[in-house]
Symmetry: C2
Subunit: 393 residues, 2 copies
């Protein structure tokens, strides 16, 4: 019989440039919240999964460093990496640990402290999030450059304009301005976005997510444990879909879609018994991977939220704002909340758990009808994709 796995506690640090705290202190901010939220104690945790890319850190054993400072010495642990999807990969690891019956209570802590390094160093390292040898080193493609290939292909195919992409930034900054944990808590206009500097044409500074420090924690537990210990009703993890794509972008058949997202969604929907054709009727709220504005538009279409080529129309019609067909990235998304890469996927679970339980700030709280939420987390340029379905039932 299937063991159900629930999220019993969530926490998030403040996202931003966090030179005010060290690595352990940044982790503690979200860990403490998640513990308090769950009502359990650190000693009840059997295993902790750390989602962290960490190539810019001098501590080579980040999970162990955190074990000592968070009082988790003696628990089992491992570090998980799937580029910018590390957070979701960590959640999947913990989910299966509990579902397998091997553990009852597992912590997932996603963290990245990127501003410790110099910005050129970070940009250089993020640039490797593809195929380093062929496409970065030999052809000079950078990470914004990879997504710019998708943006130009999309603009060419569907006559989209740079202004259309900027609408993602406007929406996500609108909600980020209402999220006290967001890196950028200010609204931007289409003009601000259009006037910002090009990073890789047609993508500009305000089309891009920032370099952010942050941590996010969730505690997952088995249904048995939840019932036996009288823990408050959790948010259940219904399914997690996953896929990967080619390392070299030059080996892909088109630049209008992230194939890995399509495949990950298919698995997630099937395992959660959701019909792709009525997905926006079933899902109340979604967090999608908007590392660049174009990425959010691709996500709309790859996840089946809107038909091919109609992502920009959905934005124009405010269909992904509260009150629209399906609100997306009410946290501010990677774009405004920020993108501490190892923490991002975990942070999506934190946000959606709050949304499903009506615990988000009032001005950015979605209407919850079916009690179902979707998280979409990408690593690299669609190199990894994870789609997670959460549910109140």
């Amino acid at each position: 019989m299937d063991r159900k796995v629930g999220i019993i506690g969530v926490g998030s640090s403040r996202f931003g440039i966090r030179n005010d705290v060290n690595f352990s202190e940044l982790a503690f901010e979200s860990f403490k919240q998640a513990l308090d939220d769950s009502g359990i104690e650190a000693k009840d945790i059997e295993y902790y999964v750390v989602s962290n890319v960490g190539i810019w850190s001098s501590e080579e054993l980040p999970a162990i460093t955190l074990g000592e400072s968070l009082n988790l010495v003696g628990k089992g642990s491992l570090r998980v990496e799937a580029a910018c999807a590390s957070g979701s990969a960590g959640v999947k690891t913990a989910y299966e640990m509990v579902k397998s019956g091997n553990a009852d209570v597992v912590l997932v802590l996603g963290i990245e402290k990127m501003n410790e390094s110099q910005t050129p160093n970070v940009v250089e390292l993020i640039g490797r999030a593809g195929n380093y040898f062929w496409e970065f080193e030999n052809f000079g493609l950078t990470f914004p450059g990879y997504y710019a290939l998708y943006a130009t292909a999309y603009m060419n195919e569907y006559q989209a304009k740079e202004e259309d992409l900027c609408k993602v930034a406007v929406k996500n900054h609108y909600y980020g301005a209402r999220n006290p944990n967001a890196h950028f808590q200010k609204e931007v206009t289409i003009e601000d976005c259009m006037n910002s500097k090009y990073v890789a044409w047609p993508l500009k500074l305000l089309d891009s997510s920032p370099i952010t420090d942050g941590s996010a924690s969730i505690i997952v537990a088995s249904e048995d444990y939840i019932r036996k210990n009288g823990i408050k009703e959790p948010v259940w993890i219904k399914s997690i879909g996953y896929s990967t794509d080619t390392s070299n972008l030059s080996k892909r058949s088109n630049f209008l879609s992230l194939r890995s997202t399509v495949e990950a969604a298919e698995i997630a929907y099937k395992k959660a018994n959701l019909n792709k054709d009525e997905i926006t009727k079933k899902i109340d709220v979604a967090e999608v991977h908007d590392c660049f504005t174009i990425a959010e538009i691709l996500a709309y279409e790859d996840l089946g939220l809107f038909p091919r080529g109609e992502g920009i129309k959905a934005l124009k019609d405010k269909q992904t704002y509260i009150g629209g067909k399906i609100p997306v990235n009410l946290s501010g998304g990677l774009k405004a909340k920020g993108h501490p890469i190892g923490a991002t996927g975990v942070s999506m679970m934190v946000e959606l758990t709050k949304q499903l339980k009506y615990k988000a700030e009032k001005q950015r709280q979605a209407d919850i009808k079916n009690g179902i939420a979707l998280a979409h987390n990408v690593g690299g340029t669609g190199h990894y994709a994870y789609v997670t379905i959460l549910s109140l039932n």
Copy 2:
């Protein structure tokens, strides 16, 4: 009901200084063998876990690079890191993926290509496998230095001599000389070991495992899948125990034991219904983590194979050779087979699967009576420990 998880295919590259192959080619050597051994095809694999520390590599997304070259694009994937225990952490991740019912066939590929970097660079990075900030950077402790603390404490407590430690090297080189995949395929004498240069007193060059390139692969599958597809009888994963210890060695209460090994063994024995008191009667063969000679002696005692302080007597009496109480490291161990850190834990499963199935080279094949084997894999200086029990039944 518990889903059983079996190892249906295993493979290992040749270990050594492998400047003759690139990263993907090194992975292919073990992957191809595991596939052929299992009888399944690459398309049957649903997910692949890559165990890799990889801090010396320029490819930031090693799992994705391998996905492209091994024809696994579209499968799910993630990279797992638990320092030198990354391999076992990867096996645990795959084991729970299958046990949870979320997948039927998963590949674990452990790989490290360490000789790409300059040796001082590797030594510096391995040195960080503790607490970088306090003990490496501030006090100048290196990785051999960490284990030297344990060696001196042990020698002081039990009147052990440097010659006693060297006996581990002699045994493991003896078996390494009979393993065609081993890094060092030559025997050494006590005199060779005693005459080798000090690395960190009392540990000498021949007390230390080498810097090795290598890959190891196993394919795990659910019992259902194995039965339905008429796959030959696998080796079953009975249990995996785990623990962690403090980041800073200065916070530990003693240097006569790796606490994490004791705790990991306790969990593994309990889950596999093994009584610690009769462990050497039940277990036919073991691979333990001998990154330094002292580490193997500590493992004997921490795993309960021999009483406290009697590890050196066991060596003197050849109790861990074939024909002794329990043969240990018939592969040559990390000491002679080599220690490509991400591959090591997976390589232990490869070796023990072969031992249990009487497929090791004749001169280093254990007698299999109960069909039970033990793998012990440490990350850092006992920062992580994993103990895995394999069984023919």
